[in-house]
């Protein structure tokens, strides 16, 4: 049967189980949009800016575990996707981006709304395509989904010239892909696994550092088995949060720049680090030459290029976290490690995990803690980037798998609102809280209209401190309190929400916090709370930029000496 290029895309999407496309139409995408009504199983969600489409697809992918799809027209539509694609790339999120392109005869002529989007996205996609004939379309889509969702997931962009959407070709969806240059290793090498097990069995002070790879491969049970069987404390990276229940006795929480003091201390004192599905990002390791100075390192990752990239590794294991942990669990022996575990308890006792100081003032930590209390931890938390993100990581007790969605690698302010929409669409039965800062929220505030139009029941908490808070904190600590370009005037968020047709309240005191959250939870539909918090609250603990994990600051000080050049350490 002959179909048009656009029909082939829709048929193929349906075959891949796509249920929703986040997008924004435009000239070169018109033939595609014109075809969409023939495929009612493909729900289209109209965003208000293409960046929102890419973030929503990313949020959808992370929450649901399936590929998220977004589309945009040629030129500015495509370039507006770029930040979202880069975000998905750095956090290994399976996103399919479909872009329109000018018709084939116009390519290379600087035609209206022509841009080389495959060239632009070359370094921020796992792979990308220009489909120059309808006959190649089905094969490209099959490959794109395969590449995006297997191995280390990542975004794949498919650029389609306008006339290819209407060109007809025989449709046949291939059963398999033939990619001789792409064969991800899933099973770990058995000799390496035996070597790793030997190190684990011999070690006295081991720690596990669990990253997003554990979440991606859903290795929760396997991780837990390893931790419990061999009595190994579990630390997570930011994106590894919720890979291990934080109310578990062996949980130490997050490490890194704003990690828990006891977690950082444990890494510093450990004689063995078992790093699973994490990539030794500089925010996690702090000064890399002083990272885990007493430890040997086992590194499990599905991406061979991550191994040995940032730190020296004693036992590398390339493979899927779940497969490797399953095999590893067969080799490790049951141990008690009383001394090391009680050491953990002691450190935990003297370094309060996320201390929320008493008082009347409305501090952001209390807000996050209260969301956790009211929802009993039964919520997906979606954050942007900055102080509110760190408090969300520190003050919410993540007990359920895959419940924190945050922009880790790229650190994209404005990720939170569209990603929360995607998460809610992907998991409609889950409560989704979008925790935003007053700065980042205004970067993608237009997506409130998407929420209203699609009746997406996202609950929004704005941590409104009147500053670009994290930058202000750095200015306070390292730039002599010179607040350049960080004081922020914002619109009345309650009125804004109401103007978009979203119920909202403002909260200024601690007493109002819990009732407001309860009200949001009881409200059928989206709800926004503007939490006007203490303006100059800082995120602690903090490892100053350029310093080692061991040199962490716990108690606030008025002024710190700037450690050398900030640019280098940033």
């Amino acid at each position: 049967m002959k179909l048009t290029g656009a029909q082939i895309i829709c048929e193929s999407f349906a075959k891949e189980g796509v249920e929703v496309i986040f997008g924004f139409p435009g000239g070169s995408l018109l033939p595609f949009y014109d075809t969409l009504p023939q495929y009612p199983q493909l729900r289209h969600i109209l965003v208000r800016h293409e960046q929102g489409a890419a973030h929503a697809a990313d949020g959808y992918a992370r929450a649901s575990g399936r590929a998220g799809v977004c589309c945009a027209t040629s030129g500015p539509g495509a370039t507006n996707l770029v930040t979202g694609i880069a975000n998905a790339y750095l956090d290994s999120s399976p996103v399919i981006a479909l872009t329109g392109q000018v018709a084939r005869p116009f390519i290379g002529k600087d035609a209206f709304q022509e841009i080389d989007i495959t060239g632009i996205t070359l370094p921020i996609t796992k792979h990308n395509y220009v489909v120059m004939s309808a006959a190649e379309m089905a094969g490209v889509i099959k490959e794109a989904f395969h590449i995006a969702t297997t191995g280390r997931p990542g975004p794949v962009l498919i650029d389609v010239p306008r006339d290819v959407f209407v060109e007809e070709a025989e449709y046949h969806y291939p059963a398999r892909v033939d990619l001789p240059g792409y064969k991800p290793v899933i099973r770990g090498h058995s000799a390496q696994i035996k070597k790793a097990a030997r190190l684990i069995n011999e070690s006295r002070r081991p720690v596990i550092i669990s990253g997003r790879g554990v979440v991606i491969s859903r290795a929760y049970e396997e991780l837990r088995e390893l931790a419990e069987k061999a009595q190994i404390p579990v630390i997570t990276t930011l994106l590894g949060i919720s890979s291990f229940p934080e109310n578990h006795m062996l949980s130490l929480g997050m490490l890194g720049m704003h990690g828990m003091a006891h977690a950082n201390k444990a890494v510093n004192e450990a004689d063995l680090v078992i790093a699973v599905g994490m990539r030794f990002d500089d925010r996690a390791t702090a000064k890399v030459s002083a990272f885990a100075p007493k430890a040997r390192i086992i590194h499990v990752d599905i991406d061979p290029a991550e191994i040995g990239k940032n730190v020296r590794v004693d036992v590398p294991i390339v493979g899927d976290a779940r497969d490797v942990l399953r095999d590893l669990n067969k080799e490790v022996v049951t141990l008690s490690r009383v001394e090391w575990i009680s050491q953990m308890d002691e450190w935990r006792g003297c370094h309060m995990a996320a201390a929320i100081r008493d008082g009347e003032d409305l501090i952001p930590q209390y807000v996050i803690h209260s969301i956790c209390e009211v929802t009993q931890g039964n919520s997906i938390i979606v954050t942007g980037v900055g102080q509110h993100q760190m408090w969300s990581a520190q003050c919410f007790c993540y007990k359920k798998p895959n419940t924190l969605i945050s922009s880790g690698g790229l650190g994209t302010m404005g990720f939170e609102l569209p990603a929360a929409i995607g998460a809610k669409v992907g998991c409609p039965d889950e409560t989704v809280w979008c925790v935003a800062g007053d700065g980042g929220f205004q970067m993608t505030i237009q997506e409130l209209a998407t929420i209203t139009q699609e009746r997406t029941a996202v609950k929004i908490a704005i941590i409104n401190n009147g500053y670009l808070g994290m930058v202000r904190q750095w200015q306070e600590l390292f730039y002599g309190r010179r607040y350049v370009a960080t004081p922020l005037s914002s619109p009345d968020f309650v009125k804004i929400a109401e103007a978009y047709g979203i119920a909202a309240v403002r909260v200024r005191t601690r007493l109002e916090v819990v009732p407001a959250i309860q009200k949001a939870m009881e409200h059928d539909g989206p709800f926004l709370i503007d939490f006007v918090v203490e303006p100059e609250e800082n995120v602690y603990p903090m490892v100053p930029p350029g310093a080692a994990l061991a040199d962490l600051i716990e108690a606030p000080r008025t002024q710190l000496v700037a450690p050398g050049s900030d640019r280098v350490s940033e």
Partner: protein
């Protein structure tokens, strides 16, 4: 031949698709790897091209280069053949200034190097030379005393002796 520790020869077999050179070049630029030369051409297999890439860097850096190259979907295989026994060759065209008095001297030098003269004009000639880096550099040095107008080099090609990689 023995390579210095900072110079590595990588051979990449790549799918012959549009943009594949761009993907590889972009990767080198983005990760700050230093390419000395890169050559691309068809292979005995249809649809597969061969890139010979000479890179500078310590072993850890070159290992990263190899792994990152391997991640490119269109790259089928990458080998670091630095430690192998290889035949490596480069071709250069050299336009040398000549006068009626020094032409025969130049021809003698060219003969010693088993190079060819492929074009002769009134005040210049073009020498074609094939060989390894040392040979080419020696010839350049000798000819430079006559005055070199132009040089075009292909960059290095390399192949392991005996059983081919992969």
């Amino acid at each position: 031949m023995v390579m210095t520790s900072d110079k590595h020869i990588l051979v990449a077999l790549v799918a012959n698709k549009p943009g594949v050179l761009n993907r590889v070049a972009s990767l080198f630029r983005r990760r700050g790897f230093n390419i000395e030369s890169i050559t691309v051409g068809h292979t005995e297999k249809e649809g597969i091209s061969r890139m010979t890439i000479v890179v500078n860097g310590d072993p850890a850096t070159v290992e990263q280069v190899r792994k990152q190259l391997d991640k490119v979907i269109d790259v089928v295989k990458v080998h670091d053949i630095t430690q192998d026994s290889v035949v490596d060759r480069e071709l250069a065209l050299i336009k040398v200034k000549t006068t009626s008095t020094n032409r025969s001297e130049i021809i003698q030098i060219v003969d010693i190097f088993r190079a060819n003269i492929v074009d002769v004009a009134a005040d210049s000639l073009i020498v074609e030379v094939t060989g390894d880096e040392d040979k080419l550099n020696s010839l350049f040095r000798l000819l430079s005393s006559f005055g070199i107008r132009e040089i075009a080099r292909t960059g290095r090609l390399a192949m392991t002796r005996g059983v081919p990689p992969g």
